[in-house]
């Protein structure tokens, strides 16, 4: 049986607590949608799948065993449904193919032949909260997440925006530890590059 806050939440939902459901939607709907759009880019399809996911979550609540966090369980349901939807639409899936060039070496041109920095990182003089206060940087970070390759973006969203563990992400996406690790680092490396562009004074 689930325990703790998730168990209470599940009990409230089954008891018909509308406010509890609204809070759950507020907390996760947009994150689920943005993730789904990377698997189902055709307009409107991700929206449909996320709606179906919410209904599937409600109708499946009795099967939530609390072996993972409720959030992870919801993401897993979404990803599975998005996968089968993509299969029906005859789309090649971001996770079906190996590689996709998403896990090649990162910016090899920054290193010389012996693996030393050729173009070392520039110094940053800013705090994370200071960066988010700069509207154009905040916007650039959000845009960067939308433009990095889908598998990297999905892992980054779950790990850093949703705070899931590497094990949870592997469980949701059914990918290997190595894959998870490489995709996450590639994604962070790209967001870092965007921040560097601002903090090095290149764009201001």
């Amino acid at each position: 049986m689930p325990t703790g806050r998730d168990a209470e939440l599940v009990a409230s939902l089954i008891a018909g607590d509308e406010a509890a459901f609204a809070r759950l939607v507020e907390a996760h709907h947009e994150g689920l949608l943005r993730l789904a759009r990377r698997m189902l880019p055709r307009a409107g399809v991700a929206e449909e799948v996320v709606q179906e996911t919410w209904m599937a979550v409600l109708r499946g609540l009795a099967r939530f065993e609390g072996r993972s966090a409720l959030k992870t369980w919801i993401y897993r349901i979404l990803v599975n449904r998005a996968r089968s939807r993509a299969r029906k639409e005859g789309r090649s899936l971001p996770f079906s193919a190996m590689g996709n060039g998403e896990d090649g070496p990162m910016e090899p041109e920054r290193f010389d032949a012996s693996g030393k920095w050729q173009e070392p990182p520039s110094e940053w003089d800013a705090s994370p909260s200071g960066m988010l206060m700069r509207k154009e940087m905040h916007q650039a970070i959000l845009e960067a997440i939308e433009t990095i390759p889908p598998r990297q973006a999905m892992v980054l969203r779950m790990r850093d925006l949703e705070g899931m563990s590497s094990e949870e992400v592997r469980n949701v996406l059914e990918i290997s530890e190595t894959n998870q690790r490489v995709l996450l680092h590639r994604a962070r490396h790209k967001v870092r590059g965007v921040l560097e562009g601002y903090l090095a004074g290149g764009v201001s």
């Binding site: 018909g16 509308e18 709907h29 994150g31 070392p120 520039s122 940053w124 988010l132 921040l195």
Partner: protein
């Protein structure tokens, strides 16, 4: 000995505390001796913090009220919990 490029590849695992003891020791020693790699690892840590601090993206009121409406229908139907959501 790992190169700067190899150390940079391990930066996320390093800042997440996911390295084996042996790799952790090697990375730690390298960072101590190598300012560019230290800057890179710090920046990966800051990038993670920025991402963690991004405010949750807001759902539109229309979508929310539609979903709450469907929740109400589900409750009115007796809150059926009879499906395998992954099936």
């Amino acid at each position: 000995m790992k190169t700067c490029q190899q150390i940079a590849e391990l930066a996320s695992q390093y800042v997440d505390g996911e390295l084996s003891m042996a790799d952790w020791g090697q990375v730690r020693m390298h960072l101590w001796l190598c300012p560019p790699c230290r800057a890179y690892a710090d920046q990966i840590a800051m990038t993670r913090q920025v991402l963690e601090q991004l405010p949750a993206e807001a759902v539109s009121e229309d979508v929310k009220s539609e979903l709450v409406g469907r929740f109400r229908d589900w409750v009115d139907a007796g809150a059926p919990c009879d499906e395998d959501p992954e099936g």
